[in-house]
Assembly symmetry: C2
C-alpha cells in the first residue's frame, strides 16, 4: 500500500507547486513592503483631509492646530509600530490580533477582536474604494459625478477578480505603490523647494475660499473636544498597520527581523507623507469644510450643493505641479490605484480570518479548508455585499464612512497589545536568562504603553465619533459576535451528542448482517453496472427493487429481467399513487422491523450529466429518495454513478486550475501549518 | 421474504385509503355535473357580453344580429357535445384530447394539442379570475376599482390552497354551481314572466345610453367579418366542454353512459343560459361598447375613462331583480364563486396533463410520479406565475384576455375530433358485427362533422382575432412545443447512450474487487458507525482515510486510533492547501490506476440535522466531495447517516400527510392505471 500513498502525494505536491507557486516563493523586503503597506500608506490619501475637515468647524483659524494633531498622530503611529514589532518577534507564525488576543486573553476577547476585524475589512473596502473614486475624480470629473455608481462598479470588478481567483504577483502591488510613494515624496520635495528656495507662492484651488465656521470662537472644553475629534479622524492613517503581523511567514529568513524592519520602514514612510501633506496643505492654503455646500464661501456666496470638494492630496498636487500637469494626473491615478489595492487586501484578509475562525468553530467548518473555491467565494460575496451596502447608504462619501472606520481598528489594537503584555508576563514567569528577561521586560513595557495609548485613543474615538456613526460599526461588531457565538454553541452541542463513548456502545456494536437493495427503474447500463457493483459487496441478502408507477413498464421490466436471466431476485412494490419515495422508505423500514440489528444498504444508480438543466431532467426522484432515506435509521445510501458523455463538460470545469487569492501575503502553506500547529 | 412484501403493501393501501379517500369514492351524476361543469357553465358569465361588445362596433342596430349568433353558438355547442360523447364511449379510461390526438394522429399532433391545452389552462385561470372579479365588482365597487390587485390576490389564494393540498369535496363544487345555475334560470324565468305576462318594462342600467359606432353603416364583407368576429367571441361559451372526457374514470358505473349523459345535460344547461341571457340583454336594452370611455354616450357626452362597464349578466340581473336586491347580490356572488372554481379546475388539469406528458418524456420524468408534492408544486407555481403575468399585462381585462383564449380550445377540439375519425376508421377495418359497424359509422359521421365544424371555427377565430391577441396564444403554444420537443430529444439521446447491450459489454463485465475507503475526520459516533457498517460489506480491502488539513488534529486522531486499537488501517493524505476534495479524488484515481478493473467504494459518515441553517454548518465538504466523486469512473459513493436529535423535526415535517388536489376529478388511481395500461 505504501506505494499507493506516494502517488497522490507526488501528484499533490507537484500540483501544489504549479497551482500556487507564489505561495512557495518568499518575499524580499522590497516586495513585502508594497504587498503589505498598500493599505496603511494609502490611508494618507484621506487622513490629512479629515483632520482639516474637522478643524474647519471652528473656522480656518483652527487650521493652525493641525501640526499639533499631526504630531500626536506621529507619536501614536510610532507607538503602534513599536508595539507590533514585538508581536512580530513573539509570533513568527504570523499571530494576527485575533490569535494574540485569543491565546492570551481568552476566547471572549478573541471573538471581540475577530468581530472588530471583520467589520474593519468591510469598511476598508468601502472607505478605500470611495476615497479612490474621489481621487480619480480630481482628474476625471465624470467619475465624481457618478460617484456611487463608479464605486460599486469597482467593488463588483474586484469581487469578480477575486472570485475568478486571478493570480496576484508582488509586482502588481509594487509598481503602483512605489509610484504613489515616489509621487508623494516628489511632491513634498518639489513643493518645499519651490516654496523655500524659489519662494514662489503656490495656491491650492480653494486657497481664496472662505470658511463659515459652524461654531464661532470655540474655546475651553468645546475646543479640546474638537481637537480630539480631529485627532481621531487623523488616526485613520493607522489603519492596516497590523497587516504585516499576519504575514510574517511570507517573509524571507530571518522572517521576524525582516518583518520588523519592513514594519518600521512602513511607519516612517507613512508619517513622513502624512506630515508632508498636512504641511503643504497649510502652505498652499487648502480650504476644506465638513459640509462645503453651505460653509464654503467664494466671493461672499456659498459654493452650493453641486460643488465637489477634492481631496487634500489632489489639491496640493494641483498647487505644486500645476493643474492638468502630467505629474498631477499621474499621482491622482496612482493614488486611486493604491487605494483599490488596499481594498483588495481586505478580499484576502476576510477569508483568511474566516478560515482561522472556522478552525475554532466560530464559523462553518468548511470555511477552514483553504483554497476551497466555494467556501472562499462565500466570504468574498459576503464582504462585497456588505461593502456595497455601506457605499450605497453613505453615497460613497469617504468622510462619512471614516466615522465608522476607526473604532474596529483600535479595538483590535488595544486588545492585541493587552494580550501581548499577558504574553510577556507568562514567559517572564518561566524565563531564567537575564539577557532574555531584560529584553522581554523592554518588550512588555512597549506593549503596555501601546495598550494604554491605543486604549486611550479608542475611548477618544468612541466619545468623539459615537453619534457621527461609530455606533453603526459597534452594531456590526455585536451582530458578528452574536452569530459566531451561536454557531460555536451549536457545534459544541453536536460534538457532545456525537462524542464517541469509551468502549462499545449501543449504536456502535457491530450490526449482524447487511441487506442490499438495488433500485431499478429500467434495465440499462447504469442499472446493470449498479447490479454488478452490488454483487461485489457480498452482502448477506441482495435484491433488486422496483416501484410500480406504471403497470405496463413494470410488466416490460419483469419480462426483460427473465429474458436476460439476471440472477438477482426482482421485487416490485405497488404504488397506487405513483409515488416512489414513500413505498421504498416503507419497505426499508419493514426490513429493519424484521431484523432490527441488521443494516439496509440501498444502492441507487445515477446518471451524471454536465449541464445544470440536464440535471433538472434526471435523478430528481433519486435525490429526494436519498434525502428521505438519510432520516431512516440503520440505512446506508450508495450512489453508483454512470457518467454520460455530457458529464465531460462538468469534469473539465471542475478540473480547471484555481488558486485562492491572497496567497502571496500568506506565505507557504506547509510552513504556516507547521508553525501554527507548533504554537498550539 | 413474502411476508416482507405484505407489510408495506398493507401499510400503503391503508395509507392510500386514508390519504386520498375522495379518489376512491366514485361520483354520482348529480355531483359529477358541478365538478366538471363549473368551467363551461361559468363561461356564460362572459360569453354573451363579448358578442354584444363586438356587435356594438357597428352600432346598437347591429344588436339585432345577436340571436343569429346565439343560434350559431348553440349549433356549435351541440356539435361539440355530440362529438365528445363519442370520445367518452371510445376512451373509457378518460382519453383526453392529448391522448386521442397522440394515439390516432401521431406524436406531432399530440404535442400540438398538449401545447394548446397548457396555454389554455393558463388562460382559463386568467380569464375566469378576471371575469369573476368583474362580476363581484358589479355588487362591490371596491373590487373593480382595484381590479388587478384583487385578481392577483385571488390567484395567490388559489395557488396557496392548491400548494397546501387542500382536500376538495364534490359538495364544494356542487353548492355554488347549483346556486349559480338556479339563479340564472330564476332570472330568465322571472324576467320572461315579468316581460311577457306582467308586461312591465325592465330597463338595464345602461338602457338609455347611446353607442357611437366605430364604423357607421357597415355592409358586405366588412359586416360579415364583424359577425364572424362576434361569433368567435361567443365561442368562449364552449371552453371547458372537453373536461368530462378526461374524467370518465371518476364516474359511477356504467361510466361511459353516465359521463355521456352528464355531458349532454351540461350542454343543454349551457346553451339555455347563454340564449336566455342574450334574450334578456336585448329585452332590457343592455348597452355595451368595446371601449366605453369614448363610444358609450350618455346625454350626449361620452362616459369617460372612469366609467365601469358591468358584465351583461350583472346588468340583466339588476334589471330583472332590481339593483341591490338580495337575489341580484346572491347571483353576483355565485357567479364570481363559480368562475373561481373554474379557475381552480386548471390547477388540477395542468399537473395532470403534465404527468401524462412526463410519462411520454416530453417533460421532466419526475412530474410523472403522482402525488409527488414537489413535482406537483412546480406545475402549480408555473401555472400561477404565467396567469398572474397575463392578468397584470392585460390589467385583468377579461375582454382583452378572451381574445387570446379561444384559439387553443379549438386547436384541441379540431385535432381530437380528427383523431376520433381515424380511431373509427381503424376499428371499422377490423370490426365485423354489422350492428356495431353501423354504430361506429354513425359515430364517425358525428366526429367528422365535429372536426369539420370546429376546424372551420378555428380558422374563423384565427382570422378574426389574430391581430387582437390570438398571436400571443400561438406564440405561447410554439414555446411549449419547442421546449417539450427539446426535452424529448434529450431523453431519447440519453436512452440511446445508456441502452443495455445484449450480452455482457465492456462496462458491465463484473469488476474483480472492491476497495472500501471510509472517510474519517474525527473519531465520534458517526465515524465509528460508518466503520462498523463498512466492515459488514466484506470488501476486498478496507481502509480509513483522513485528510491532514491541520497537523495537530491529525496527530490527535492518529493517537486516539492507536489507543482505541481500531482494527482498520488509517491512511492520512497530506493537503498543503487544506483542501479535502482534491486529495481524496486524486487518491481514489490512483487506486483505480493501480487496478483498473476494480471498484472503489467511498464511505462517508454524515450527520443528519433538522433545520436548513444547521445543514449549512455540516456536511458541506462531504456534499462537495460526493459531487466530485460522481464524476470519477469506477466509484460507488456511500453515505452512512447519523441522525442527530434535531433531525426529528425534519422527520416529522416529512411524515406530514398530504394529498394532491384534483383527485376528485381523476377517479381512483388503481383503476386509472389499470385501464390506461390496458389501453396502451
Amino acid at each position: 500500500m505504501s506505494k499507493l500513498t506516494d502517488v497522490p502525494k507526488r501528484i499533490l505536491i507537484g500540483r501544489a507547486l504549479r497551482s500556487d507557486r507564489l505561495g512557495e516563493t518568499l518575499l524580499p523586503k522590497r516586495i513585502a513592503l508594497p504587498v503589505f503597506a498598500s493599505d496603511p500608506l494609502s490611508s494618507v490619501a484621506y487622513a490629512p483631509g479629515e483632520v482639516l475637515l474637522v478643524l474647519s468647524i471652528a473656522g480656518v483659524s483652527a487650521y493652525h492646530f493641525s501640526p499639533w494633531i499631526a504630531a500626536a498622530v506621529v507619536v501614536l503611529m510610532f507607538t503602534v509600530v513599536a508595539s507590533y514589532r514585538q508581536n512580530v518577534h513573539a509570533y513568527p507564525s504570523g499571530g494576527g490580533d485575533y490569535e494574540v488576543a485569543n491565546t492570551n486573553l481568552g476566547p471572549k476577547a478573541g471573538l471581540t477582536v475577530a468581530s472588530a476585524l471583520l467589520v474593519d475589512y468591510v469598511l476598508t473596502v468601502a472607505v478605500s474604494i470611495s476615497s479612490g473614486i474621489e481621487n480619480l475624480g480630481s482628474a476625471i470629473p465624470f467619475v465624481v459625478e457618478h460617484k456611487v455608481f463608479c464605486a460599486i462598479a469597482v467593488i463588483v470588478l474586484l469581487t469578480l477578480m477575486n472570485l475568478r481567483g486571478v493570480k496576484e504577483s508582488g509586482t502588481v502591488f509594487a509598481i503602483p505603490t512605489y509610484v504613489f510613494v515616489a509621487g508623494v515624496f516628489t511632491m513634498i520635495a518639489w513643493g518645499a523647494f519651490r516654496g523655500v528656495v524659489l519662494g514662489d507662492e503656490m495656491r491650492a484651488p480653494t486657497a481664496d475660499y472662505q470658511i463659515k465656521p459652524e461654531h464661532q470662537g470655540l474655546a475651553g472644553f468645546a475646543l479640546v473636544f474638537l481637537l480630539l475629534r480631529a485627532f481621531s479622524s487623523g488616526c485613520a492613517a493607522l489603519t492596516g498597520v497590523e497587516a504585516i503581523s499576519n504575514g510574517v511567514p511570507a517573509f524571507r529568513k530571518p522572517k521576524s527581523r525582516n518583518a520588523a524592519s519592513t514594519l518600521a520602514l512602513m511607519g516612517l514612510l507613512a508619517v513622513t507623507m502624512f506630515c508632508g501633506i498636512i504641511a503643504l496643505a497649510r502652505a498652499t492654503g487648502v480650504r476644506m469644510a465638513e459640509n462645503p455646500a453651505v460653509d464654503l464661501v467664494h466671493n461672499g456666496v456659498p459654493v452650493g450643493a453641486d460643488y465637489v470638494q477634492h481631496p487634500v492630496i489632489a489639491q496640493v498636487a494641483e498647487a505644486v505641479f500645476g493643474s492638468d500637469s502630467i505629474l498631477f494626473i499621474l499621482l491622482a491615478a496612482a493614488t486611486a490605484l493604491v487605494l483599490f489595492l488596499a481594498a483588495n487586501t481586505a478580499y484576502n484578509g476576510f477569508p483568511l480570518l474566516g478560515s482561522i475562525l472556522a478552525q475554532d468553530r466560530y464559523l462553518p467548518r468548511q470555511l477552514h479548508t483553504r483554497g476551497d473555491r466555494l467556501a472562499f467565494s462565500n466570504g468574498i460575496v459576503l464582504l462585497a455585499g456588505a461593502a456595497m451596502l455601506l457605499v450605497w447608504i453613505y453615497r460613497a462619501d469617504s468622510t462619512r464612512l471614516i466615522q465608522l472606520y476607526i473604532v474596529g481598528v483600535f479595538v483590535s489594537f488595544t486588545l492585541s497589545q493587552t494580550g501581548m503584555v499577558r504574553h510577556w508576563n507568562r514567559h517572564l514567569a518561566t524565563e531564567k536568562d537575564t539577557a532574555k528577561r531584560r529584553h522581554m521586560i523592554r518588550s512588555r513595557a512597549i506593549n503596555a504603553f501601546g495598550a494604554f495609548f491605543t486604549g486611550l485613543v479608542l475611548v477618544v474615538v468612541l466619545v468623539t465619533k459615537f453619534t457621527h456613526g461609530a455606533w453603526v460599526a459597534l452594531l456590526g461588531m455585536v451582530i458578528f459576535y452574536a452569530t459566531m457565538t451561536a454557531i460555536r454553541k451549536h457545534y459544541d452541542r453536536v460534538a457532545e451528542e456525537i462524542a464517541a463513548p469509551e468502549g462499545p456502545s449501543d449504536d456502535i456494536v457491530r450490526p449482524s448482517r447487511v441487506h442490499s437493495v438495488v433500485l431499478i427503474s429500467k434495465i440499462h447500463r447504469p442499472t446493470l453496472r449498479a447490479l454488478a457493483y452490488a454483487k461485489l459487496l457480498r452482502s448477506d441478502t441482495l435484491e433488486a427493487l422496483s416501484v410500480n408507477v406504471d403497470p405496463a413498464e413494470t410488466k416490460a421490466l419483469r419480462a426483460e429481467w427473465e429474458r436476460r436471466g439476471i440472477d438477482v431476485p426482482l421485487k416490485v412494490l405497488d404504488s397506487p399513487y405513483r409515488e416512489i419515495t414513500r413505498p421504498v422508505i416503507e419497505y426499508v423500514k419493514s426490513l429493519r422491523k424484521e431484523s432490527p440489528r441488521d443494516v439496509v444498504s440501498v444502492i441507487i444508480p445515477e446518471y451524471v450529466v454536465g449541464h445544470w438543466y440536464e440535471h433538472l431532467l434526471h435523478n430528481q426522484s433519486a435525490l429526494r429518495l436519498k434525502g428521505r432515506l438519510l432520516f431512516t435509521p440503520g440505512v446506508m445510501v450508495t450512489s453508483v454513478p454512470y457518467q454520460l458523455a455530457s458529464s465531460e463538460v462538468a469534469k473539465r470545469r471542475a478540473r480547471k486550475e484555481w488558486n485562492a487569492p491572497g496567497s502571496v501575503r500568506r506565505g507557504p502553506a506547509q510552513e504556516r501549518d507547521r508553525e501554527s500547529s507548533a504554537s498550539q
